[in-house]
């Protein structure tokens, strides 16, 4: 049987995803052994897992290096890969939000300066509101931008809101809820349809039993 190549996001989210797949009937004992291996196979279960940087999962899947993968909705909205989004796994839940300093007052008469890692999401959000903005693309420590006067607001992922509170920032608006999604390469879906369908069905069933 041809193995399904599955890209898992490195980190806590990936560990949770792996646990779901294993409970759904696609275990891989070798992935739990310490070592420097990058790829882990279980021929019996028909799976080959590998860990990749979370923001790279959609690239691996879109380019066909992985048949399936798990990526956050934030990544999918930002990069808009040409893939199938087969399941909402309901984990890694958080929200994309607009935040600013607690005393910030928006002046619609001037261009809003928005610092973000998610330029596309922020642009389309403000476009839908008809608001003129200036995007300041940052790669990290987004919260610093309004504190240092680099931007008026930020568009970023908010989990508990603790970092925002500690830095005297507050959420102004929610842009979109985020969670982890099971995605598939379009060509793989055609050529490995039965095996992908089986994994999706078993995973969906497991998630349903748990809710």
């Amino acid at each position: 049987m041809e193995l399904l190549n599955i890209a898992l996001p490195k980190g806590r989210l990936g560990e949770k995803v792996l646990a779901i797949f294993e409970d759904a009937g696609f275990p891989c004992p070798s992935i739990h052994q310490a070592g420097r291996k990058l790829i882990f196979e279980n021929e019996e279960a028909g799976v080959r897992y590998f860990w990749v940087k979370p923001s790279d999962v959609s690239i691996y899947v879109e380019r066909g290096a992985a048949d399936l993968g798990v990526a956050g909705k934030d990544i999918l909205l930002e990069y808009q890969p040409d893939i199938y989004e087969l399941l909402d796994l309901g984990i890694g839940t958080c929200r994309m939000a607009v935040a600013a300093k607690k005393d910030f007052r928006d002046d619609p008469g001037r261009t809003l300066r928005v610092a973000t890692k998610f330029s596309k999401i922020a642009s389309s959000y403000y476009l839908s509101k008809g608001r003129d903005i200036d995007i300041i693309h940052l790669n990290g420590s987004i919260e610093l931008a309004p504190i240092l006067g680099l931007s008026d607001v930020i568009v970023d992922i908010v989990e508990t809101g603790a970092t925002l509170r500690e830095n005297n920032l507050t959420v102004l608006e929610e842009v979109i809820p985020i969670s982890a999604r099971l995605i598939a390469n379009k060509a793989s879906y055609k050529f490995k349809n039965k095996t992908i369908d089986n994994l999706v069905r078993c995973t969906a069933q497991l998630l349903e039993e748990r809710t």
Binding site: G64, D82, I83, Y84, E85, L86, D88, K190, F191
Partner: protein, 361 residues
Amino acid sequence: MTNLSAEAFSASLRSLYSRYGYCRYKMNKFEEYDLYARNKDFLICDSVITFTDVDGKLMALKPDVTLSMVKNTRDEPGIRKLYYNENVYRVCKGSQGFKEIMQMGLEAMGEIDEYCIYEVLKLAAESLNSTEKCCILEISHLGLLSSAICHAGIRPEEHRQVIRCIGEKNLHQLQSICVRMGIPQQEINLLRRLASLYGTPQEVLPVVQSLLTGIADEQELSQFLRIIDALNAGKFRDMIRIDFSAVSDPQYYSGFVFKGFAQGVPSAILSGGQYDSMMRKMKRQAGAIGFAVYLDILEQYSPVQTDYDVDTLLIYDESCSIPEIEAMAREATTESILLQRQIPPGIRYRRLITMGKGRIP
């Protein structure tokens, strides 16, 4: 296309299309930019190379062929059958600059009838077959899909959102946006069912028929079933799949839409459909159907691998005369021969012949 080069593949497609009476359509490299500005959504990418012509007109290097063909042909009685093999200039997804891409395809424009749709689909399947890879031609029908969307009570301005979810097989988002629109669950279930359908005509057509009877236009549904049945009866039986997630922009496309995939290639290598809506948009009376084959993608994933750069490498020196070198090259009886004074760095050859003073006995 295990070992078939892009040139050989395009030659086999040219011969295929000519055999069916399609005429080669050769066009200018440039087109007025205005054509693309008015139809940006039709293009795969909206970046176009522009320049100002000597008469002050803003021109563009063609990013697409179909729009130019529609613009430069006239409505005539019957069906005009054309094929093209042109370079287009566009920014590919993920790349930082423009690329020249060789694109091949065919278009049928005019009084498109059932046989013509069948013929174009058959030629799409034949084109895939010419790759010598295991291929799949997935077929959908935007008219049938639109009927189900309208039947669900979704407003025209929201069709695009719903079609995008169906295109991604994104059932959870389809569910949530339909609930937000106040669509009854029974109707949502129908759309979810259509989005998730995938399989051979034998597996899927009975389901399509039972789901859409009484919802879709009867003639449109029966034509869809007849054409798929006809394709499925031929030699492409194993290649045909029905998948309503194969969608295209309804502003341009209306009836059949289809995509071709080859094993080992991560994205579609062929894409096409009926673009009557685009013809109306461009004030044309005729109907149209066609497809493009993405030779660049196919070539990228089908490298022609050889063990050697050249079969024979012949090294001569200043002591060898032209007739001697010519005679030695003739004697070598080889697939390919490279004549050099010294061995080029990094070259891979199967056999080495040296002549002159440094001759290897």
